[in-house]
């Protein structure tokens, strides 16, 4: 039980560091740590498939893509432009209002039931695969088209424009 609260504290701590770090490279490294704590959350809930997918896709692919882009974009020339303190203050107030609203609404709900894993096979690959390829076959195929179009779009956007007079 205490494991959850410790990992939850680490998640919040690292995600605060993500948005406050001055150097974007440090930000990305903190984001890696945040996603690692999320992976531990998934393991604690016995969602083993999602833990592996989160580990490989997010930490392995997406964050490497971020780092790679950051290496392409040379940020050494100028440090990051700063927002005025008033804007920062307003941003924190806005996010805090959202947090307070949701938590207050939750408090009005009263005590909730504990999360109990009734079926130990729930998050395993076998079970999820059966559901994915029976009930959700069409969305699965559509998502492959989505990935294809995203790939084409990324290549189209990022390649240097030739002379189009």
């Amino acid at each position: 039980m205490n494991t959850f609260y410790f990992i939850a504290f680490l998640s919040v701590f690292f995600s605060i560091l993500v948005i406050t770090a001055k150097n974007p490279v440090h930000s990305i490294l903190y984001l890696v740590l945040t996603f690692f704590t999320f992976t531990i959350h998934y393991i604690l809930m016995n969602a083993q498939f999602l833990a592996i997918v989160n580990f490989i896709v997010y930490m392995g692919a997406i964050l490497v893509l971020f780092l790679y882009t950051l290496m392409l974009i040379n940020l050494n020339k100028e440090s990051e432009p700063r927002k005025s303190n008033l804007v920062k203050f307003a941003g924190v107030i806005g996010g805090g209002c959202f947090l307070v609203t949701i938590v207050a609404a939750l408090k009005a709900f009263g005590v909730s039931q504990p999360v109990v894993l009734n079926d130990p096979n729930l998050g395993l690959v076998k079970n999820l695969g059966k559901i994915l390829f029976n009930e959700y076959l069409l969305p699965f195929e559509v998502s492959s088209i989505l990935l294809l179009s995203a790939m084409v779009g990324a290549v189209l956007l990022a390649t240097k424009e030739t002379k189009t007079a």
């Binding site: 919040v12 993500v18 998934y42 604690l44 996010g95 999360v115 998502s143 179009s149």
Partner: protein, 109 residues
């Protein structure tokens, strides 16, 4: 693994919701207070992940695997979004030599 999953048995659903809301609002604050386009993108990833964790918690709570399938689709969507978004950022950097989002206010006209 057995002892690991025993740990979860006593955690109320509310605590999961509160954790995810805290991380989501950290993402919102990050979008609002930073001007670096890449950091804003990372804050969006943070928000997506908070939602993923909450969907998984609900899925375990209800004993219904649909939520976890949905999280799988969201992860696929996030990968597509990051690819296109980073391509746009690279293109903006090539045209303006900066990834400060305030440069983009010319899109207004």
């Amino acid at each position: 693994m057995e002892t690991l999953t025993q740990n979860i048995q006593a955690i109320p659903l509310n605590h999961y919701i509160i954790l995810c809301v805290i991380i989501f609002s950290i993402g919102v604050i990050g979008v609002l207070i930073r001007r670096n386009a890449i950091v804003i993108f990372m804050s969006i990833e943070l928000m997506l992940n908070a939602v993923n964790l909450l969907l998984t918690a609900f899925s375990v709570y209800r004993g219904d695997a649909t939520g976890q399938v949905f999280v799988f689709f969201i992860i696929a969507l996030a990968a597509a979004e990051v690819a296109v978004g980073l391509a746009i950022i690279v293109m903006i950097y090539r045209n303006t030599n900066s990834i400060d989002i305030n440069v983009l206010n010319r899109l207004k006209w």
